[in-house]
Symmetry: C3
Subunit: 463 residues, 3 copies
């Protein structure tokens, strides 16, 4: 009897071992799934004094909260934050914009971003402050004064530096980057060493550098490999005198073009004649199309600036070809978008097959997904081509800037307001499509007299 008992106990023990072993395997699998979501969403930059706290818990893949940014560089002279690749968030939904990266720069007063180049093309919008950028080539130097609303095209491989020339206000800018080597990946190449990043000259032997520069090896070692720059970041404090010297006294005046207009000169979204602008009591809208600007044409990038007063609505619309990466510069707003795409499972997929995902059957459900999110300062949201969307401002001065990808010949099509596309439909088409009578068909899309921006307190009761 006791023997049998012992046997039973043994059996149970062994079954439990097998079970544990079984579990262990599953645990292993689960450990294999990286808790990426948490990592990705972990708050960053809490030391930046910018107040990057979370505001909501929406999990729509189109909305990147400010905590999604990664700190790429940070010191008391400023910071650079970068969004992860869009396809990390939703590999299928964002495959079309995989090669585009968004980042945010902040340079404190009297700071200097040391000379560098990128293996990527970039477009920059100045969000705040005053500064200069200088593009240096073997033969030319171009110095540009920059302020809020200016758009700068940085060609791939151009050696450049930047200065916040203001004594009090940070210089902030948003940047979209299009890598030339690897889809979605680029690097910064610095000639001078810093605590943050080695000089690219450390990729060479000292003897070769000595021969190339025709200077002693000892000097090569001291300047490019030495420890003296280790206390310095890629942004450095400089004196007002040095700023004056850099911006006013050119070392070779003959070939230094100050704000001379060349093909890739910066332009202002607020004042350039070729910018499409619209203004009424409820908002301002500025858009630079790639067809109109040499700076944007080859990259097919559009750039927008939107200001809205409290309680106004940026009327429902869609972009015919462009997908917009939109950054909130000030205030909060509600963003509403209609998407026929399903994004269920994008997160799960991502963990298993990070890049590709197991392709799902195509969504033929005919369902329109309602995407509603509260977006606030420093958030990013994506508006894919064709998707109808609207923005309702919650704050007195809601400001957002946008980079339109594949924007060549893209048309912004409004679905409401004066001159919207649906108001141009034949009445009989409206009647048949919406199953309404002639009277409703005629009023439906023509009762809103405002264009682009309208108040959220409708006037239809009065009219």
């Amino acid at each position: 009897m006791t023997m049998t008992k012992k046997l039973i106990i043994t059996l149970l023990l062994l079954i439990s071992i097998a079970f544990v072993h079984c579990l262990a395997f599953h645990v292993e699998l689960e450990e294999f799934e990286p808790p990426r979501q948490e990592e990705q969403e972990a708050p960053v930059g809490e030391g930046s004094g910018e107040g990057w706290q979370e505001e909501s818990t929406s999990e729509f893949p189109y909305h990147f909260r400010k905590r999604s940014f990664k700190n790429w560089f940070q010191s008391k002279e400023g910071f650079v934050k970068m969004l992860p690749k869009f396809t990390k968030r939703a590999p299928n939904l964002f495959r079309g914009i995989e090669n585009y990266r968004f980042s945010l720069y902040d340079m404190e007063p009297n700071s200097f971003l040391v000379p560098l180049h990128l293996d990527a093309d970039s477009v920059v919008i100045i969000l705040q402050g005053h500064g200069v950028a200088e593009f240096v080539t073997a033969k030319t130097k171009e110095l540009f004064h920059l302020t809020k609303g200016d758009v700068v095209r940085l060609p791939s491989g151009i050696t450049h530096f930047a200065i916040n020339t203001n004594q009090t206000v940070p210089l902030r800018f948003a940047k979209i980057t299009i890598p030339v080597n690897n889809p979605g990946q680029f690097q910064n190449y610095f000639s001078a060493p810093s605590q943050f990043q080695q000089s690219y000259f450390t990729g060479f032997s000292k003897e070769v550098l000595s021969a190339s520069f025709n200077i002693p090896e000892e000097l090569v070692g001291r300047i490019f490999f030495g420890p003296q720059q280790m206390g310095q970041g890629i942004m450095r404090r400089i004196t007002p005198d040095q700023i004056k010297e850099l911006t006013e006294n050119s070392t070779s005046p003959s070939n230094k073009h100050k704000d001379k207009s060349t093909k890739f000169s910066p332009f202002s979204l607020f004042t350039h004649d070729s910018v499409s602008s619209y203004t009424n009591d409820f908002g301002h809208f500025h858009e630079a199309h790639p067809e109109s600007f040499d700076q944007l044409q080859d990259l097919q990038i559009a750039v927008t600036w939107t200001n809205m007063t409290q309680g106004s609505v940026f009327l429902p619309q869609y972009n015919s070809k462009a997908t917009f990466v939109t950054f909130v510069e000030n205030g909060c707003a509600r963003y509403e978008m209609a998407s026929p795409y399903s994004f269920q499972g994008e997160q799960q997929q991502q963990q298993w097959w990070p890049e590709q995902g197991e392709e799902k059957e195509e969504d033929m459900s005919g369902q329109v997904h309602k995407i509603v999110s509260r977006v606030c300062k420093s958030d990013v949201f994506i508006i894919p081509a064709g998707h109808p969307f609207t923005i309702v401002s919650h704050d007195e001065n809601f400001v957002s800037v946008g980079f339109g990808i594949y924007a060549s010949n893209s048309i912004r099509t409004f679905l409401a307001g004066q001159g919207n596309v649906l108001s141009n439909l034949d009445t009989v088409a409206t009647r048949v499509a919406f199953g309404v009578g002639s009277k409703v068909a005629e009023k439906l899309f023509t009762s809103q007299n405002y264009s682009h921006f309208a108040p959220t307190t409708p006037s239809h009761q009065q009219s």
Copy 2:
């Protein structure tokens, strides 16, 4: 002794538990493999009255039988059928055309396709019937009358509708679609609700729509969210009077251009001067090159129409750059193609790694694969660039239409018939290459006097 027996039994039991546990894991893996092939090939649309039965069992990846189409929409007013992504069939072979989708439309007499836009560019060929299409923008309306052989470019994001204006004949058209957001994926966006698909306005809050349209929320709810359209599909029956009103009485005549020629106006493959045409007793061939048509240029799409009499051969040829997606509109034919690519294992691969496949070693066997298939009405076959192919008509009036992808500056190079490329080779080159004497070398590629199309009953005995 019994104890020992019991122990042995216990042991066996536990081993079998371990074994079952082991098996269980493998079963799990197998269940993980979706039986995609069956799903993909399952007959669809048997209710369409079109006779979509299978005709043969060829498994060449280049040939998509009509049962490969998926029903995207179907009602008594018509249907829309779409091929799955080409890469679902053969991930490696078709990577180059992954972003192109093929679909087939049928609109019954007196039917109306409700206004919509796509996040994709499209090119359409009218296969049969008579109809109109209207493109609506904020400022313009363009109405086009369409009939067999007309080619329509639909720009991405354009709001449009279509009508079968004929009282008896269905309006049929084939469409190639090039998504702008996601490679190989696009969606249709409808302003009006239907049983088939929600209105894109359901993506917005009622309050926002009310404010945007400046109409009461109740009306918003009734029109966009209400159940009244639920009995209606995206194709609707309309009365001849409504057709007359839509096509003749424009609501705003001043800006309605009837068939006025603009950059993206439709054109006819049969009559436009810039179409390359060839005709003899055995067949007709029409090809619109992207270099000659603004409508096709940016998409680099070529469009072809081929008619063949019974027993004629479309002479062996290859396209230098374009890959053709060819649709059989009428009759049956034998399609023969030479491919140096191996496609063994494409199906198996697909099940494991749907998108990418585990890359095989490159095929350096020097083997030419003989691809022969009987293609019939509503089948699709792919002719990749460089691949020599020929078509032998089995029926009195074999008709096929083709969309050429990457067709800019692609040259159609005939390998037989009057003026073929090989007849232009130096005789000594032919002699050395084919190991033949001067007499054979001179006759080999010059004995066929017909061009493009020839009879299958050769005349060489007589000549």
Copy 3:
């Protein structure tokens, strides 16, 4: 007591079974990893008499030793060697150049490469020898005489053949190929059969060929399917008389343009006016930009030729947009490059997920990787855009040729030597960036008076 012992033994036994079972699973996984690395690096072509032995054991992914080439064709008349897809070596690092393939051709004296076409565009540089190429279309024949330094653009799908017209010297050329059907994959299509590859006419039925050519089936069978060519490769020995006939006596003189300049005519890197050239005592450099040559423009390919004397340095530089695939034609050199990209784990990744790799966290270490390799005759090395690099010649006559990918508007930016970009920086910028005084800042980048090429024995002690 013994019972308990037995039980314990049983327990241990079962635990060990479970353990073995556990191990078995892991073993299975390991067997799943193909030992690709060994395969890839296996020596090839040891019978070629070219001395393709290994020279070093560097494992930098940027350097492909000659043993990395695969023998695509080899006979006593010559050989064709091809590099595997770059992404096979490093799936992430080389995703941007995945679609480009590099190959090397050697045709012995008096040999003939039989007529063929490719489903790919190509650019060829003649490395050595003398020959002719003929492009044949339905209407034209273009015969080109080729010699060292000539660049030939082969349009996709063009039927062509080539001859080594010299009696003693092999004709050698390097080729970059850009497939039109499948990223990174292309095939050769031969009209005539050979032991190496079947005729593409074997893809057709004999009856169809008989009807198409209007010749008897028996002749079709003998010429295209017969065994008589089986002793012949794709390169064939021809007699000087046949060469004379092919190059001098045209079969249809009226349409045979001898070296007439057309859009895609070959040009010489050494003599064409639009080539950028630089020469000093230490080296020669020639570069054809795609902006200057119709032959290269649509492919965005640049072509370079570099000659260096012993002990000279091709000064540190980077390309702003182009990634160069560089082939060593003669001698050995040290190649140094700075890369901020991490390539640790590229090999391992590759074995698991051949195409895609499990995407790593982005490298934000700020580390610059020092890539140093000794490159010798027939090696290939990659210089990605933005990466600073230098070459130090070890031999009296080091020769390399390069194909620049995405080279439109790419600028070669020198970091040392007369007129380098850093010498054009404002002194104050240099001072702040490098943490040096005015005196050093002024001398640092201006002490080298040579441009492009300089001696490795520095003269700074004297100056």
